[in-house]
């Protein structure tokens, strides 16, 4: 049995319960004591459910960045079989923040593209903590084009704080490649499924984020700007990140309500970082179900639906009429 370790501040009550349980288990086991442990275990589960059922947006950001949260490489081994990595962009280099390759999803042959943040310090610095450079986006597009040629559906796993802000990235056209990826993904003639598995950081996320279906894991976030960045600009201090997180309305339930994501994939009790296998099973079930649905739609119609899906996004007033694009203004009011 692993010793309980303190987690986030908001998990303190869970941690305290775990300590009590560990204490009891050290004592001589009597039937009464075992009953007590069982009772506390139930309490622990209820408490975890309660806390994770009502995370604040800022707490969600912390969970989405948890060091043990499953990354693209974890899904590659737990969801898919026989991953065959395809490396370069055939132009500049091999960006380790963006992975791509053939894989099998159940009986389906697919192409997977995904941001990778790295786990160890060495991995993290090799992939710039999941911030891709232009060569990463070019690689993703090159592989997606090839997938289209060979009629392979594309699966995009999104997990990035944002596209890398640096001199080389600007010199090699960061703005250009993100623009081109959205432009091309809107019309690639193959099914595209996107899942935000952790952080959906702005243009860096959207650079592999245009597809027929966009889903989010329950405790991930997807935002126009990081809460820290927003706080720095609008409140002139990063200390307001928590308030910015609330103002930006970027949690999975917000995005479902705003019509930006189609599905929210529930995470196991206490977050994806507590159970990679269970998380992977749910992601896999979602992918297979969605892919079956998409393959049943004729190509032209699927492309038209993809266009309409993004075309509808946004909310504005049309003259005096409160004509709202998107589906949801009245619900949010």
């Amino acid at each position: 049995m692993e010793a309980p370790a303190p987690g986030f501040e908001f998990e303190q009550p869970i941690f305290e319960l775990q300590l009590r349980i560990a204490d009891l288990q050290k004592q001589e086991q009597t039937p009464e004591l075992q009953d007590e442990v069982r009772k506390l275990r139930r309490e622990e589960a209820d408490l975890t459910k309660q806390i994770y059922g009502s995370l604040s947006p800022w707490e969600t950001v912390k969970v989405s960045r948890h060091k043990d949260r499953p990354h693209t490489v974890d899904y590659l081994s737990l969801v898919f079989d026989d991953f065959v990595e395809l490396h370069g962009d055939k132009f500049f280099g091999d960006d380790r923040a963006m992975r791509a390759g053939f894989a099998k999803l159940d009986q389906f042959k697919v192409l997977v593209v995904g941001h990778e943040k790295g786990r160890t310090y060495k991995e993290k610095s090799a992939c710039y903590f999941g911030c891709a450079h232009p060569e990463g986006y070019r690689k993703a597009m090159a592989k997606m084009r090839m997938a289209t040629k060979f009629k392979l559906p594309v699966i995009c796993l999104i997990d990035t704080p944002g596209a890398y802000p640096g001199i080389g990235a600007e010199e090699r056209g960061q703005a250009q490649v993100i623009a081109e990826n959205m432009f091309e993904m809107s019309r690639l003639d193959t099914p595209i499924l996107c899942v935000v598995i952790g952080e959906g950081g702005s243009g860096g996320a959207l650079g592999i984020g245009v597809g027929d279906r966009v889903a989010m894991l329950e405790h991930s976030y997807y935002s126009v700007i990081s809460p820290e960045g927003c706080a720095g600009i609008l409140w002139k201090s990063h200390e307001y990140a928590e308030r910015a997180a609330t103002a930006l309305k970027f949690t999975s339930s917000d995005l479902k309500r705003l019509g930006v994501v189609d599905d929210v994939i529930p995470e196991p009790l206490g977050g994806a970082h507590r159970d990679h296998h269970q998380t992977a099973r749910r992601v896999k079930a979602h992918l297979i179900k969605s892919l079956r649905e998409l393959l049943a739609i004729p190509n032209d119609e699927r492309l038209a639906q993809r266009y309409e899906k993004f075309r509808r996004m946004g909310q504005f007033l049309d003259g005096n009429l409160a004509a709202q694009a998107g589906s949801t203004a009245d619900e949010s009011a």
């Binding site: 081109e180 959205m182 243009g203 959207l206 946004g314």
Partner: protein, 270 residues
Amino acid sequence: MNKRQKRGVPEGLWQRCPGCHNSIYRKEAEKRLNVCPECDFHFYVSAAERIVQVLDEGTFEEWDGDLSPADPLNFEDKRKYRDKLLDEQKRTGMNDAAITGTGMIRARRVAFGVTDSSFFMGSMGSVVGERLARLAERATDQDLPLIIVSGSGGGARMHEGILSLMQMAKVSAALARYDEAGGLYISVLTNPTMGGVAASFASLGDVVFAEPKALIGFAGPRTIKATIKIELPKGFQTSEFLLEHGYIDRIVSRDKLKSEIARTIDYCGK
């Protein structure tokens, strides 16, 4: 923070040139389409002024001018987004940061859009996205060349959250359809064109022009400096830097813009 004049508010007889820091006689600059007579720095021009400069006199007809911003997130930082919007609308006389419509350039009919970098930094929220998407769709239907002049220091507008980010995908998708139909899209970049605007429609032109010495890029210079903690090279993220690295076709002075657009339209048989 030092006190800085709001963009787009002309005051006084003299103005300081941000390029060469000389004091410039305002009338002299205005005569030259708001270009510094000393160093050729291209000052801010409003969307309305840009229409006058680029389109044939009296030919502009606005499309979708009634669209105005909602506040889908009920956004509030130090102030309410809603209140800031009212102030910006009053100050600029615009509903939002883009004007779109049709007009003639040297007697060639075009679909024309321009963003104004003084309205919420020219950032793209739902209205800018919707107007540009409709513009691209009309240009497709009517087989018109499409010209978009961008100026945006803000990229995607934070106050409309994820919906602003999605405008990047929406406009890019509309431009992809226009492209498929064989349309000619000329993108003109002006100072500044950054973030989500640079990373969507502004970079997608068949032909991309930039005004001289404009700031153009994805990440803001301050963000980059804070990340990599070294001084940025001189001239980083300028039009000239982009030309050197192969991301724009031509640097075009403001007084030549109209004729360069007309010539490109002729070459592309539109």
